[in-house]
Symmetry: C3
Subunit: 443 residues, 3 copies
């Protein structure tokens, strides 16, 4: 009797779960956009090129079904550059060439824009390696697009801005972020410039730090004379490039040594899991250096991180104190909420409570912390990781300044609040979001 009741209850719960699942799927597919907030945004037209699977729409200017010979004949006049690039590619020079219509289709009214899945028809291994990144969590290339469209603030922020996010995060949804059209050369992707269009500026100043490192300077001097058709293995290159270290031996898996989470949060670099990742780094460095030297550089990075986080936590602690005393305005409940964001309004301080892009509609002291964390800290981190000493110096000097300003601004907020109480002055409250209200109507 009792067990039948349990079985019944489980059955009801299971049915409810299935129904919720269907409802969810319906919901998430229900809007013009993609992802969790698909109903809150519609794709900006240019997004069809960045996320072709979800949004590409063939132009319907030309009618007809064409063989490659005709494609080439016509495009040699219209857009000769892409034909020249294709002719120079392995696609054109293979025994069984890959022609225009193999990727784009033949019906000019129904053209396709290649997705990673399509490229995987031939490049299965590389695609599998890319997919494999997912098990290391975010940051990752393969999860880049879903993480951006699934962020609650994606629907909040104005299109003109999130468009810039999508442009780089499209590394997950097309292959020509690294292998540009229509040569798709692996030689190109081996060179550091392949990465810098996205990997520069916050939150990953790799451009600014690699090219100023000892490795980078050797590349800048001599790179144009190296033979880039060679695989990324020891002895082939005088100095490593991005791909040499981060895509070891050309494997399309960048995350298998990822340890410091982009410098966005503090990590314990000596967990048993992270010790394995460290050993992978050291092993890689021994392509050219002594293991003990590599180990010491990593320890140097640990130290730099530790010191950076001491400064960041000092700043966070000041902010939390102010929040506790209700001195931060607009407070969490004075700000427009995220769509589906959470049941309770939350003030975000630091990574664990928020995210880089969530720092809007907040007070000036929170922005100060944001800049300290996002610009200066990340600059210091990447400098230390790439061995660019002057960048470490700059980052820490900036963090020292920021901490001091946060300290003094906090004191001012406290003094003013006390003075206002005594003087009976009430500060004007700002509680209408610069972004949210407007954008939810217009995006």
């Amino acid at each position: 009797m009792h067990s039948r009741k349990i079985v019944l209850r489980l059955l009801v719960l299971a049915l409810l779960a299935v129904a919720t699942g269907f409802a969810y799927i319906h919901w998430s597919k229900g809007g013009d956009g993609a992802g969790l907030y698909s109903r809150y945004w519609s794709p900006d037209p240019v997004q069809e090129y960045w996320d072709p699977k979800n949004f590409y729409q063939s132009t319907e200017i030309v009618e007809g079904v064409f063989e490659a010979k005709l494609c080439i004949q016509c495009h040699e006049g219209i857009t000769p550059g892409i034909v020249i690039d294709w002719r120079a590619s392995r696609h054109a020079q293979a025994d069984q060439p890959v022609y225009c219509n193999d990727c784009h289709g033949s019906d000019h009214q129904q053209l396709r824009m290649p997705t990673p899945e399509m490229c995987a028809n031939c490049h299965q291994q590389q695609h599998n390696e890319l997919l494999d990144e997912a098990r290391y969590g975010f940051p990752s290339h393969v999860l880049a697009m879903e993480r951006v469209v699934d962020a609650p603030h994606f629907a909040d922020k104005p299109k003109g801005e999130v468009q810039a996010c999508v442009q780089c995060h499209s590394v997950a949804t097309k292959c020509d972020s690294c292998h540009t059209r229509h040569r798709f050369d692996s030689a190109e992707a081996r060179r550091p410039e392949a990465c810098i269009t996205c990997h520069s500026g916050p939150p990953h100043p790799d451009d600014e730090t690699y090219f100023n490192s000892a490795h980078g300077k050797i590349y800048l001097q001599e790179g144009s004379e190296w033979d880039w058709s060679k695989p990324l293995t020891k002895g082939n290159y005088k100095a490593p490039t991005c791909a040499y270290c981060h895509m070891e031996k050309g494997r399309h898996q960048v995350a298998d040594k990822s340890l410091w989470k982009f410098g966005l949060r503090e990590v314990n670099p000596h967990t048993s899991k992270n010790r394995i990742l460290r050993l992978r780094w050291i092993k890689l460095c021994t392509d050219c250096h002594e293991a003990s030297e590599a180990d010491q550089w990593l320890s140097g990075l640990d130290q730099e991180r530790k010191q950076a986080w001491e400064k960041l936590y000092a700043a966070e602690s000041i902010l939390k104190g102010l929040r506790g005393d209700q001195l931060i305005h607009p407070a969490a409940d004075q700000r427009p909420e995220y769509p589906m964001g959470s049941l309770w309004a939350r003030q975000r301080i630091g990574f664990f409570e928020g995210q880089a892009s969530a720092f809007y509609n907040v007070s000036a002291i929170e922005r100060d912390y944001f800049e300290m964390w996002y610009f200066d800290n990340l600059g210091a981190y990447k400098s230390a990781a790439h061995g660019y000493a002057a960048g470490v110096e700059k980052g820490h000097k900036k963090m020292e300044s920021s901490l001091q300003h946060i300290r003094e601004r906090a004191e001012l907020l406290r003094n003013l609040s006390e003075a206002e109480l005594k003087a009976g002055v009430t500060a004007e409250q700002w509680n209408s979001g610069a972004y949210t209200d407007y954008n939810r109507e217009h995006n």
Copy 2:
């Protein structure tokens, strides 16, 4: 009778106008300098090289009248580099070579420094194209020099600073800004580096944004192997350079697609005039891309600009509020006036009320706005225009910070003013210009 009176009046007015004109010409030619404020400044010596027509003075060290053979013989020992460059130039290799004295004269006591007008003796077409820019107004290359010397603050600001302005603005008054001495190669000017000495940093971070774009990264990787003797037409280059897009087919006319006014002011990109300029852009992009894709990128730029101006106007509006309540110090009438600046002192907020270089002798909150507008906004604009996503992100993040700080600083100024009133404290007023008084005596 009545009509005779009108004719007489017109005659008097015409005579007055002519007299004023002569007076004006006399005035503007009256000083050591050039332009409207010629009486308020004298040229810094190095300016003779940047504006040779107005200021070059031949060194008088060597006496004698020389033929080219002798120039070369002597300078091969003194300055061999310039002889090597000339020998490698088309000037030297032409059927009728262009020799030293063709440009510099033969009398060593009366040497000339070439002006655009002199180069036009042979390169008429290019010079005409350059002159043609004037009809598109400023910003332009051909008007660059007169706009800098005719700015009221040119005479105010210290020489050490305006010298830097003149150095780049000399693009109007000599040709070797882009074609360096003595090779004067068109191949050189086709490459992006030809532009970056001036086009980097505010107000035109083209260097920082082009090289980080997909176009720029292809150039950085492969550019050293391209054949730069080829004209800038489709199929000749895998990726476009500055000149490919902005000086289409090599035409020395950069302004014929200029639409966004450097990002310094808001424009309506869809006026009938601007729609024509847009179509010119799209047509150019179709050298390699689909027209619809180009159109979508332009729309993306429109959106980015719209959002940037929402932030900038929000900041301007705060400043105007403070000004209305007389909370900005030094106020316009507390500052030293421009020479001949205007009949009434004016506070400058934003482009329409002032100009980039006019933001001095002003309060801290006005500087905050200036930095938001001039550094962060322009960085975002050029990033969006050149397709450098991380730069758009950075620019907008910085603008968010700035807006929040301006908001809070304004609140503080209001609170302090109220508190001062209540407490009977009077703030010290700063009303002596850091620049103007001193410089007008010393420049």
Copy 3:
């Protein structure tokens, strides 16, 4: 009688001085570190590679005494890159090759890491030139390491940060900062990238300013095609690189034309000594330019510096006023003292009273000054020195902003102090160093 007394006294003083000298030597050699504060710090492990003379410890993994043939045989498999580089070097190709063991020794348990003194066994002239720099004082390459470890704050600041200092200052204690392992090519060191790993960012933004100059842009365009085996003399290179001007004709002596002290302090550029240095510059410039033009550029730099220092002194003067009125907190005596720093606590404002790295544990307004001086001023200086106009503009615009903010922050501090006095509010005092207490225990 009287003279005997004096002799006796002198004898006693002399003996005391000798004793103090010995005590000092004992002290300075007494710790794990190096230099004056050797007792206050222990070397970070990676420092053994940067200051091998003091700290290198051979790895003891492999046992045995090996001839070069065996070194090469083994390392060709383990670290093929360094063998390839060595084979391409003059060391390998000389009539009497320089083998592995000539520099590193043969006993694998007692390996050496080369010091400048070791390189001097063959490269005596270059080493002498380097040593010769010392007579020009600091900044200099040869004194770089001792100046960093002898700075009182070296022992105070966290390892994670000073490690970055040591990395670049190791230019004094090893030769591969410029001639990278194991090719050690002079061609490499002639190219500007050899310098930028250290010479970028504050306090020497040479990277940012040279590459944006007219000289730099020519290098970027054509440098990869130049014959870098040629000596640095006129006619061999179309445009100068760092070494061309600063290490004239390849001489390893960078200081013999140093005049402006990195822009860190104001100099009178027209002392009789400095007039000699100026003439050296002008003479160098005449490799390509007229002497009068070079002279005018130098005058332009003088003017830029003068104006920069007017702004900096205006800011310093505000700070000194606040200090005089005891409005800067933490005040000098509220901060933890340097170890052996001085007998009296000192507040540091500007170069003469302190040093770049001494700007920590200070108030926000002092940090504002620091950023104005260290980031913006130095950017303007190096831009003017290298002829990068847009950088001069940016630096001065930033300095204008900073000065205005310092002015207003000072006013605020005064008003708040007055208001606090009236209202009986006492500001919280911050008097525990963020760095010092902690680090002295842990470094």
